[in-house]
Symmetry: C2
């Protein structure tokens, strides 16, 4: 996972994606020419930016016009990410605290580098003697993204108008069969945020992180099939795995944040402590 | 407290401070001309940077040469920060994980914008019914910086070659009479980092944050006189005070980080949650 804000990234060749003069994303150089096919939706690139047409002056009009263009672009062979179309609407806004300006299909967000928000759960148990172990999932080998890699016990994207805690409880049920009565006890503990780019576009993501101490006798079970198996691992084993390529990268970040907040990594023995903390909480 | 990395800051007019071609700080525009008086220590400004003379090729030589120049500059009326000379040596290095290239008197670090590291303690109690209250100190009215403002229960700068936990335990004893047997139980939980500038220069600071649940019957006591009084406040009262100007700014950040990590602030009810988290963990 690279850093979109590092000097070596493709950022200099990207165009700002703007709505009413406010930036809401980044458009990669290979995507911008395709958008000129829809002059009633996107203004021609100008001053390093692509803007939505000013005539699209409401949440509904913007969302529908862009969705129309995207539906047509699903035929475009170079836009492989659109083959993962999910019919999930994500909110588009400059900051999380701003009112959404439109919604956009989840699979298209990387083409516009719009910020995506999600939830991730650290599920753990504490033994009678105080030893902490962590539940991790292994992603299904048939999953479109990061097949077969280690994942948090539950995670998911935040759809338009969905509450954060509500989404967490829903994902706990769907992905790991954690009943709401248990999942409701999950505690919000911050966010992990980062921006990277690959051939599918720009990913500016912020994950709302929750910790949940699970009952010792409780075992997560495979729910919707996104995970093939769950493991309960001692913290030392989790640390070992973090140093390998076996983790989905953003899940590794969520686990690293857990290990720091729970004092399993200490500043006197980890030289990169300070860089780890700032790297986990990058400005979007 | 402003943000040195915001577009409106004075950063564009500052010069990079470099040792052997590596940046270790920022020199404000009013400071650079004074350094030209010491051509055997500082090379003339070049390409937006002031470099230490290459002939200063060791930790000891660099430290002594710069200290000599600074001792002379203590007479300079415009450098008010040097009137707070403390005889405390701070390490100068590009990142915390790098070997120090020199030491510098603490009071001078803002003139060179070198990174300063410190420790801050969140001291709190949990009542039998589970209610959390926080111990806060009020700074002495005669303290040179931020007199009379609210502070964490203990905090201090990290001197050259000092351990992080060791410094925390020492500050607990000196500032709040917390005995080592209790202070040793403090748990490292991350860092809070930020960069700001004022008339005294550029402050690039990272605080190693510790949480310590204090025994219910324990009361911190005024130690070295840096604090005039300690208060035990319920979390709701702490939240209220955070919204006022009564806190030393970086202590407010440490407390805000505590409130987020301990779920006293939640993403569904705090619109700025995401911006709070990234604002508390800025790259230096």
């Amino acid at each position: 996972m690279n850093d979109f804000y590092s000097p070596e990234s493709c950022r200099a060749s990207c165009l700002r994606f703007e709505i009413d003069g406010t930036q809401v994303g980044w458009i990669p150089p290979q995507v911008a020419p395709l958008l000129t096919r829809y002059p009633e939706v996107f203004e021609p690139p100008h001053g390093g930016a692509v803007s939505l047409c000013r005539s699209l002056d409401s949440y509904g009009r913007r969302s529908e016009a862009v969705d129309g263009a995207l539906q047509a672009l699903r035929q475009e062979p170079s836009l492989s990410c659109l083959r993962g179309w999910r019919d999930e609407k994500y909110s588009v806004m400059p900051k999380f605290s701003d009112p959404p300006l439109m919604w956009m299909e989840r699979a298209a967000t990387s083409l516009f580098g719009v910020r995506r928000y999600g939830v991730h759960l650290n599920g753990y148990v504490v033994s009678d003697s105080g030893e902490v172990s962590m539940w991790l999932g292994r992603r299904s080998p048939t999953k479109q993204t990061y097949p077969g890699l280690l994942d948090n016990v539950a995670a998911g994207g935040l759809a338009a108008n969905a509450g954060v805690k509500h989404t967490l409880v829903k994902e706990c049920q769907e992905e790991a069969c954690i009943p709401a009565a248990i999942a409701e006890k999950a505690r919000p503990v911050g966010t992990v945020s980062y921006t990277y780019n690959n051939e599918e576009g720009v990913f500016a993501e912020s994950q709302f992180v929750f910790d949940l101490e699970l009952p010792l006798e409780f075992k997560p079970r495979v729910g919707d099939g996104e995970v093939q198996e769950f493991y309960l691992l001692p913290i030392d084993k989790v640390k070992e795995l973090l140093a390998t390529d076996d983790f989905k990268p953003n899940c590794a970040m969520v686990v690293l944040d857990f290990l720091i907040r729970h004092s399993f990594i200490e500043p006197d023995t980890e030289p990169c402590y300070q860089e780890f903390v700032t790297g986990l909480h990058q400005k979007l």
